[in-house]
Subunit: 597 residues, 2 copies
């Protein structure tokens, strides 16, 4: 059975040594978020995830959710764990103190989410979706709705969902057919069918707040005719308790490849009562508040699963004795050497390690900019951070889930045949990780968001928010010859990214399919360069600690430098293939007739 | 529910237009294998796979195998399908006529295996392993054993297995502990435990022939002390019927990620009676007869699953309406365009198509050289083919399974959220495909076989068997400017492969870890170049047919050229990343201390 230990040292390294998280406590409203408090929260979250959530992960996969006549039960133990989760105040961590929240920086949620996804992704999705509903309501809801509902979400008493997809409308929300008809009393009556609703029905909470996309009777066609509605499972009484059952029912749950402990529901709305959130026909904008947060959260799922898979693969590779090292026995007293001595095994593990640690630094860096975007006193700084977050949201979602899936597969492979057998738990990580490149917008959709929307915005303004710090970091590091092995490959990769950007921009003006055909390769290219940037910063931070005499922690910082070295030598070269593919353009993709497939 | 149709046009194109399969009927013993007979066999096999095996694939995954007190039942319908399989004479297809076989070329088995793996991998493994046992016995068994057992395997009445792995010994067979003690009457008594035995126990056949690796009491240590034994489930009577139950029992079956319709067994040998196959302490050599065939077969599993996943993804991408083409509506009368119009979707599908068709040409090319190796009248030609087959066996196994797994994942992604739901069947292809990079020697082991054994052999003699035809094809094609877009990328990639070969060879002499750290990247580099070579040949064959006036078949040949164009523009560039990684050497991999992971 697999184990998990929150990688607190690695997390603290990123937060303190690389990102200087202490600066957050200088922001208005975050005065309490001192490094000491942050460390205390990390430790407590790590303990909760390792001791409460992780032991339920494998049994939850085996038992799955059960459906009976519209009622859904989460796997055994989930309800009790959820009660502990609420008792610990975790739903309130980053919520608004006005509604009972603790007002911690958003960044803290990223860190805790990584741990929760690593220990039990199916479980983490229940409160994860509730938080998304909280966030969208908090931003777009009326004061009346907020006063009534937000305390319930912040305490964890009520859950939440986002209801977008319909059987014929997934990526293409413009063609949804769920209708919302004004009831005359300020409320609406919703009718339609939504599918793939994660946490759509379950027994963890006494009520569930569905945020539903639907069309008003007079709505314009396409996405400009979509509005968002709050549809509770039970209509709240005046005292704020669950009252009459609303006209929304769960028709069935899906049998899926993974995340079996989370109920993926068909929800039927039959004259269900709802209230509009945000403005009429502006539902997509409101939903994107939720979606952007969810996309960053899905990226953290990829990271979390990559981390837990890594931990178990390393443990196995240290213990499993098989064959002899090519350069002579390393365990001469035993029947064979630990497989971690074999180049192929350690190469796979180092790849996962370099990706995990790079992805973590990337995600936390952007997580911190979300806080700067909302709290920095200088509007210019807020705008800069908002640009960077907007640019990187699709990259975090797609790059962290693609590499996260790859990492779980490398970790499985480390186990050989045992990796394919259920009891070792490695194949569950692969199955669970496989959803992340699909939901909250497939990774192809993320890539189109990046290339088709984010790159052109403000004539490349968003991209410059990333290019400037990379240029600055490269230039500042070139003076030190000891950094050449890190800086030079980054500079070269960055150059390829700049060339690819120009090439795609030029060709797309003449033919939008050029953007479409380049998009996924471009997103990956940007992802690898971003991790190169993060690794240069990590290497420099580690070297600074070593230079200052890290003493008993020297091995830790030396490992950071060694992992960075591996990243530049063995992972970053993927940019050469990506740049060549992008340069090859769209013609070979688009000129093949449909009948030729 | 997914469907499958054997890609007969693609198969015939490779066999006739690219490989000129007619030359096989000029080989002694293959006189009957005329192109007409070959086509008739393909059609009949395709019909059987599509109508009998494929409909059992998804139900077999859902039902799995059942274990009760040592008895194992394959999923419902498998037994009846197996009876049809035998009634159709399929186990005899390529077997020796002396034992009831039909004596068809080995290549025919490759083609039929591709179809069987595509339609139902779990089923295909039962007769696949029996064929492996047939092959090892045919090569290494005594005349007495062969006369007694081979007719049973050729008719399909009896099954077969290969028993190598033990709980503590997978890759490292040198440390197995199963013992074989002479019984005094020419037989042996075997005691020990074998795990991960595919088709180790089931209800499809009246008897099972286990080929077991074990150690004689006085055996030297390591792999040089391993012998191979034939251990039947039931001891054959003099009349060749299953007699007394032997001391081999199934202790349990594994619960796995996929291939759930095939029983993966723990087999306990308790004083089981067996007979030696081949010479004492030469069991590894005998087993490798079986393993090499099995490795090529596993490669075909990757190809078959890539093909069936592709067919279903294309069908879905043609039907699913979602969003509008970036260059204007392609289905203006409908609510949206088919997703195959979107660059990301068609790029994914083209990648799978280019890999499948390239892998098929590669596998059949090597399959034909197996026939040339065994039947060509000229010993020099036999030796050349043997070299090429030895070189490419690990490449076929690893490259076709790595790309096959990738292809099933791309196909799943095409379905969006529906790909993750069991009823659509796409996630089963991914789960089934995930075993192939693991068993019959992990792909890392294949890579070490290639780089550590096959490359150095005869000072690079094996590799020259591949380099010479590639050089010749490149040179012969350079005269035609219309081929430049295919030839130039191939020539460049081939140059990178040659440089990488020299670099790895040089560095490995000083440090064997250099070979180990480069091995998997090198194998992939060789794989992509090989597919480039196959694609150049396919493009030329298609152009020749077009030039000759293919008329009603023009679209088919034009699609070949277009897919080849895509391969060189969008798939082959991976060689740039691989070459850069190989050039980066082993230091960053090996210098990280074990404690730093």
């Amino acid at each position: 059975m697999p184990t998990y230990k929150a990688p607190l040292d690695d997390m603290r390294f990123v937060l303190h040594d690389v990102l200087d998280v202490a600066q957050l406590s200088a922001l208005p409203g975050y005065e309490e978020a001192t490094p000491d408090l942050i460390d205390a929260i990390l430790e407590e979250a790590g303990r909760f995830c390792a001791e409460v959530l992780q032991p339920l992960n494998q049994p939850g996969d085996a038992a799955g959710c059960t459906y009976e006549q519209g009622e859904v039960k989460a796997p055994p133990g989930f309800k009790e764990a959820y009660q502990q989760y609420c008792a610990g105040g975790w739903p309130a961590l980053t919520a608004d103190p006005k509604y009972g929240g603790q007002g911690m920086p958003h960044l803290m949620r990223s860190v805790v989410e990584e741990m929760m996804c690593a220990s039990n992704l199916s479980f983490a999705m229940y409160p994860g979706l509730a938080h998304g509903a909280y966030h969208a309501m908090h931003t777009h809801g009326t004061e009346e709705l907020k006063d009534k509902l937000l305390p319930k979400l912040v305490s964890g008493q009520w859950g939440g969902t986002m209801c977008l997809t319909e059987p014929h409308a997934g990526t293409d929300l413009g063609i949804i057919t769920t209708k919302a008809v004004p009831a005359g009393d300020g409320a609406y009556r919703l009718t339609g069918t939504k599918i793939f609703i994660s946490a759509g029905e379950h027994d963890l909470t006494e009520n569930i707040i569905h945020l539903v996309l639907a069309k008003l009777p007079d709505a314009p066609g396409g996405t400009r005719g979509i509005s968002m509605f709050m549809v509770p499972k039970f209509l709240p009484t005046d005292e704020g308790r669950p009252g009459t059952r609303n006209g929304v029912t769960c028709g069935s749950i899906e049998h899926k490849m993974g995340i079996k402990g989370n109920a993926t529901c068909v929800l039927n709305f039959d004259n269900a009562t709802g209230w509009m959130v945000g403005d009429a026909n502006k539902g997509m904008r409101a939903m994107f508040t939720m979606m952007n947060g969810a996309r960053l959260g899905v990226g953290l799922q990829g990271l979390g699963l990559g981390e837990v898979a890594y931990q178990n693969a390393v443990a196995y590779a240290r213990e499993r004795l098989q064959g002899r090292s090519l350069t002579g026995a390393k365990n001469p007293g035993g029947p064979a050497d630990p497989i971690i001595e074999h180049p192929a095994v350690r190469q796979g593990l180092l790849r996962v390690k370099a990706l995990n640690e790079g992805n973590r630094a990337f995600a936390y860096w952007i997580g911190m900019h979300i806080d700067l975007e909302h709290r920095h006193p200088d509007p210019a700084r807020r705008a800069e951070s908002a640009d960077l977050v907007a640019l990187m949201t699709p990259v975090i979602k797609a790059f962290l889930t693609d590499t996260g899936f790859e990492s779980t597969n490398i970790a499985l492979q480390t186990f050989g045949g045992h990796g394919y057998v259920r009891e070792y738990g490695m194949e569950q990580f692969v199955r669970d990780a496989r959803i992340a490149p699909i939901y909250e917008g497939t990774n192809a959709v993320q890539a189109m968001d990046l290339v088709g929307r984010k790159l052109p915005e403000g004539m490349g303004r968003l991209l410059r928010r990333f290019f400037h710090p990379v240029s600055a970091e490269v230039e500042a590091s070139r003076a030190d010859p000891a950094l050449a092995e890190f800086v030079e490959p980054l500079a070269k990769a960055f150059e390829r990214l700049q060339q690819a950007t120009q090439g795609v921009a030029m060709r797309s003006m003449a033919n939008p399919d050029e953007a479409g055909a380049a998009a996924e390769d471009y997103l990956h290219l940007l992802g690898y360069v971003t991790l190169g940037y993060m690794w240069l910063r990590m290497v420099k931070a580690a070297r600074a600690r070593l230079a200052a005499g890290a003493d008993d922690r020297a091995a830790f910082y030396e490992a950071k430098v060694a992992t960075g070295r591996f990243y530049f030598a063995k992972v970053l070269p993927q940019v050469h293939a990506l740049a060549a593919r992008i340069a090859a353009g769209a013609t070979t993709v688009m000129s093949v007739p449909v009948d030729a497939f």
